[in-house]
Symmetry: C2
Subunit: 420 residues, 2 copies
């Protein structure tokens, strides 16, 4: 069995490599035509997609999947329209491939610059949402990469049905269907193969729960673009504008709870705590947010729960917030350094020097000033779309859009120049 | 023994992590002062450095190292001055750390941009040349990173002596001496440890022979910036300016033989071969370059050796050149795709469309037009210095200077903005 999977995956890898060459050279119009064709086919095949999705839903119910998981799995008409709309949005984005920049003449007379190029073959490993199949394929296609998609086994009928629409759209546009391949087996050995095919796969992007991402990072011999946690902080300085501070602290926690860019810990300067914490506590109480405070916080808000050491390292993804009072910016930065997951951290202050210090010293993929952590998002950053958020330091940091799926090679323009 | 090495290396890693925080925050003046101080100390201690180097040279002679290796190992007064000069050149380069770029206002009103930041801890693994100790430490220090250096065991006295000068210079400038650490054991287990310390080491840069680099890439769990081979091509098109073509083909092969950016295979369009190959053969003969040709080449140059399949995949690093006649640009690109090491490839032509096709379709770290492959170099590209050349696709491609030792985080400037 595993041998069969190995052979199958190696073939998938080789087909992807061959298709990557063609897709890298494909002109923008053809790639956009494919995206539009796929969008049209998804809409035309809506009834059939829902039939295939029903097989997954039924199987999931029989397996006892919980309601939240079944909801994520469901392909409603709105979600199918959402996929089609997403494909058209990606078609409308500028094509990053082939863009020449930074050409500068050197003392020798040659001009040296950079050209943006695709990475090659991108492996995406994800869990239950079938719409990822279309979203991820679109971004990889537009950025000139071939894609190997491995979705959750519970969504396999839905994913393969979406894949059929993608293959048909690619062929309509005259592009190789192998440019996007959805793994057709639920066998877990396929993942093990995919993440060790470093001869054919350029990068792996895992999307899903922390367990999945940790396992893949540990075992992959292919570079991985990932983020594990979103333990995001807001630090309210004693020179903060208190109205802005309250608005940001509320938005960062309560705008949405189950997202990686929600605030999990609020840090408040000692000089501001007495004034702002009671107001915040009232506002959070209205939203039923559970507060857990350090000793000093409890002295101001005696009715809330005490925070434990564990709280500082917990991504709640829920209406829960830990609060710590710090001496000032240095202790805030030290706390963030010790507990942040390097995702997104924000300072609220009017003090210029503290802003510059925070920007420089907080080493997270997004560092914010007087803004809600909820802005950490490819759309909000103007990337047009995102395939994920990276908390790694090499290659891509923060929201990863089309550019993050490319790299830059050097180009040199001479006129017969030789080195002396 | 291995346990002792493990403990020692883990300590080195932890000290490097702690120092990385400080060096990342160090201001430009202090880093430059340290570089200048180290340069001064190296010159002051020249006699002692040569004494320590003599121990390595004597040991090397007794071990039977060949003359070329002993030459690379030798710290002559010129090389010591070269190290000092290199340090001062790095001090003179602009500091990339903290540079804010690309700030753009988004529809929400926030301004989103990027700030350049150090990678953290960089592990450098190299072979016999002791001057790499100072050169690599300087680039990592200027780019705000802590460095762990592991040189060849045959150079250990020289490397530790240079390290002492570096430690003293860092302390003079008020920077932590742990920002640069040279491994003080010749035990090979130290390399095995270093390349698996992914909790403290951000990236490994191996410099040396292919064997070393292959082994490190295979075994490292830390990301590696590397290049294995330099199998560089020049393609002479039938619309080339023949004088430029001859100048470039001669320079790319004969300017220096033992370097990674020397041409190893010359591709000539059928329509140009009859005219240019006899001229080139004469010119190469004058330089004692051995030619090895494909069948078609042998028909024009009957006196040269026949090339075997192996020749197309060989980095000679010697006065040897393989020559293949191709139909035209498509076959040239196909040959490069099959045999290039993704280092540097150049086209010589006056034809605009073929130039654009070559730039787009050749997927090497440097792609050149009417210029010698010998230009692929950090200094020639205006980087000021280079720590190596990368043929990888993620993060850094081509010559890696100070920027390649940094990454960019997102910064967001708001004025109380929250997400709606």
């Amino acid at each position: 069995m595993t041998d069969t999977i190995k052979t199958y995956m190696r073939e998938v890898g080789e087909k992807a490599s061959a298709a990557a060459l063609e897709i890298a050279r494909a002109d923008t119009g053809r790639k956009n035509a494919a995206l539009a064709a796929i969008a049209g086919i998804l809409l035309d095949k809506q009834a059939w997609l829902q039939e295939q999705n029903a097989l997954d839903l039924e199987h999931g119910k029989n397996k006892g999947l919980d309601a939240a998981l079944l909801d994520r799995l469901a392909l409603t008409p709105e979600r199918i329209q959402g996929m089609a709309e997403g494909l058209r949005q990606v078609a409308a984005l500028p094509d990053p491939v082939g863009e020449i920049s930074d050409l500068k003449k050197q003392p020798s007379g040659i001009q040296v610059g950079k050209m943006r190029v695709p990475l090659g073959v991108i492996g995406i490993i994800y869990e239950s949402r079938p719409n990822v199949t279309a979203d991820a394929a679109a971004l990889c296609l537009k950025s000139g990469n071939a894609t190997i998609l491995r979705g959750g086994s519970e969504a396999i009928h839905s994913n393969l049905a979406i894949a059929d629409c993608i293959y048909a759209g690619l062929e309509q546009a005259g592009l190789p269907a192998d440019a996007v391949q959805v793994i057709n087996t639920a066998d877990r050995a396929a993942v093990g193969e995919l993440i060790t095919m470093s001869d054919t796969v350029s990068v792996i992007i895992p999307r899903g729960g922390k367990g999945l991402i940790e396992r893949i990072s540990r075992e992959s011999t292919v570079p991985v673009i990932k983020h594990l946690d979103g333990i995001c902080h807001v630090y309210i300085d004693d020179e903060a504008d208190m109205d802005k501070a309250i608005a940001i602290a509320m938005n960062a926690k309560t705008h949405r709870y189950g997202v990686c860019n929600a605030m999990e810990t609020l840090l408040v300067a000692e000089g501001a705590a007495q004034e702002i914490l009671p107001k915040l506590a009232d506002a959070y109480a209205e939203k039923d947010v559970e507060l857990r405070g350090c000793k000093k916080t409890l002295a101001i808000l005696p009715d809330i729960k005490a925070a434990t050491e564990e709280d500082w390292d917990t991504e709640y993804l829920a209406p829960v917030l830990s609060i710590r009072i710090v001496d000032g910016i240095d202790q805030a930065i030290a706390h963030i350094h010790a507990h942040s997951s390097d995702h997104t951290d924000s300072i609220v202050t009017e003090n210029y020097s503290r802003i510059m210090q925070f920007l420089r010293e907080v080493d997270s993929s997004s560092v914010m000033v007087n803004a809600s952590t909820r802005f950490a998002d490819g759309f909000e950053y103007g990337l047009g779309a995102e395939i994920g958020i990276s908390t790694d330091k090499l290659h891509a940091r923060g929201p990863v859009g089309l550019e993050g799926l490319t790299s830059q090679k050097y180009i040199v323009l001479g006129e017969g120049h030789v080195r002396g």
